[in-house]
């Protein structure tokens, strides 16, 4: 496995140590080190990476604000361990936390969690349905029956028009490529919505049958393009 990554960390000794761990592993190629979100964003506007090692507390914008503003979905390993970030980490599909300083062994364990998503969905984007693996069986979901899809760490939740919720092992990134482009659009790192089910949009939120779905800055332009605004 060869992963490309960037390190977003303002503590030099920690960044150097992490860089050293990456080199030593032979599994991760470091494309850059940035000590603030602005510089990292500037790089990510024209480059993609598989993985971001991300500090949360940095001068200026924090690490989660970076994730809000990038248009793709890399894997993320946080280099902090503050429990108050646990909820955000869950929302942002963070793969692991590394508490600084961490041992090389612990670093390798975190890398071990960066695995390709399991194929738990069968679909053809030209058809009107998908199959998901849930509750020990393959379940057919018609595109028109899905309201939205929400990330839950290594899992996703499909919410349907009859208010059923199906949880399956998958990622928003993987689904984005597999679901019907005509019906679905990723509007946030953690959400794909069915465009045909949107009731209204207020500021940075879409509303679908009473559910409030955040729209990230990076995806807002796409949303406007697809809403058929007259």
């Amino acid at each position: 496995m060869s992963l490309s990554c960037i390190i977003v960390e303002d503590l030099q000794v920690a960044a150097n140590y992490l860089n050293n761990c990456c080199e030593k592993s032979g599994q991760v190629e470091v494309k850059g080190h940035f000590s603030n979100v602005t510089d990292a964003l500037s790089f990510l506007n024209s480059n993609t990476v598989d993985l971001i090692f991300l500090d949360v507390e940095m001068p200026g914008a924090n690490g989660f604000e970076l994730l809000d503003q990038i248009a793709f979905s890399p894997k993320v390993i946080l280099t902090t361990a503050k429990s108050e970030y646990a909820y955000n980490a869950f929302q942002y599909n963070v793969s692991d936390y590394l508490m600084k300083p961490f041992t090389y062994q612990r670093f390798l364990e975190a890398l071990g969690k960066i695995q390709p998503s399991k194929e738990t969905i069968s679909t053809n984007s030209a058809t009107d349905h998908i199959y998901i693996k849930a509750d020990g069986k393959l379940i057919r979901l018609n595109n028109d029956s899905i309201l939205y899809i929400e990330s839950m760490g290594d899992y996703v939740k499909f919410v349907t028009v009859d208010n059923k919720k199906y949880i399956t092992h998958n990622t928003i990134k993987n689904l984005e490529e597999k679901v019907s482009k005509e019906h679905f659009l990723k509007v946030h790192r953690s959400y794909i919505v069915n465009l045909h089910k949107i009731d209204d949009m207020r500021e940075n939120f879409l509303f679908i049958k009473g559910n409030e779905i955040p729209v990230s800055k990076a995806n807002k332009a796409d949303v406007f393009r697809r809403l058929n605004i007259v």
Binding site: L11, Q12, V13, N16, Y17, N20, E57, K100, P101, Y104
Partner: protein, 134 residues
């Protein structure tokens, strides 16, 4: 494999947690020297930030500044100071004014100053040790 506890190897000041350093760096004293160099390079700005935020009475920024320097002590094996920073972060979270944590801040500040001297001394010892080994 040699490690940082080996009798013939580098002898640390007892304030440093040798087992912890060993878990991070094994027997790589050259890399350890780099770590100490980097830490000393950044030390003043990190501590200035703490002092500034205490003086300005911004408890959240003070907590954040202490949080930032905390792992530095881990990287150089001063695990007790790292824990002291952790404790102070907790105090910052619950205090409502700088006066409430003045005593704790003074203790932390002294410990951070003493640590700078310890790290500087250990850095020099490591430089000497590595140059003799090469």
């Amino acid at each position: 494999m040699n490690n940082l506890k080996t009798a013939n190897a580098f002898v640390f000041n007892p304030e440093f947690d040798v087992n912890y350093l060993n878990s991070l760096y094994g027997d790589d004293y050259n890399y350890l020297q780099e770590v100490f160099n980097t830490v000393m390079h950044d030390y003043q700005s990190l501590t200035d930030n703490i002092e500034y935020n205490f003086s300005s009475g911004n408890l959240n920024a003070l907590r954040s500044a202490v949080h930032k320097i905390k792992p530095v002590f881990g990287f150089v094996g001063l695990t007790a100071v790292q824990q002291l920073c952790q404790d102070f972060e907790q105090i910052c979270s619950t205090a409502s004014s700088p006066d409430q944590l003045a005593g704790d801040f003074e203790s932390l500040k002294n410990k951070i100053s003493q640590s700078k001297i310890l790290i500087e001394e250990e850095k020099k010892k490591l430089e000497l040790f590595n140059s003799n080994c090469s």
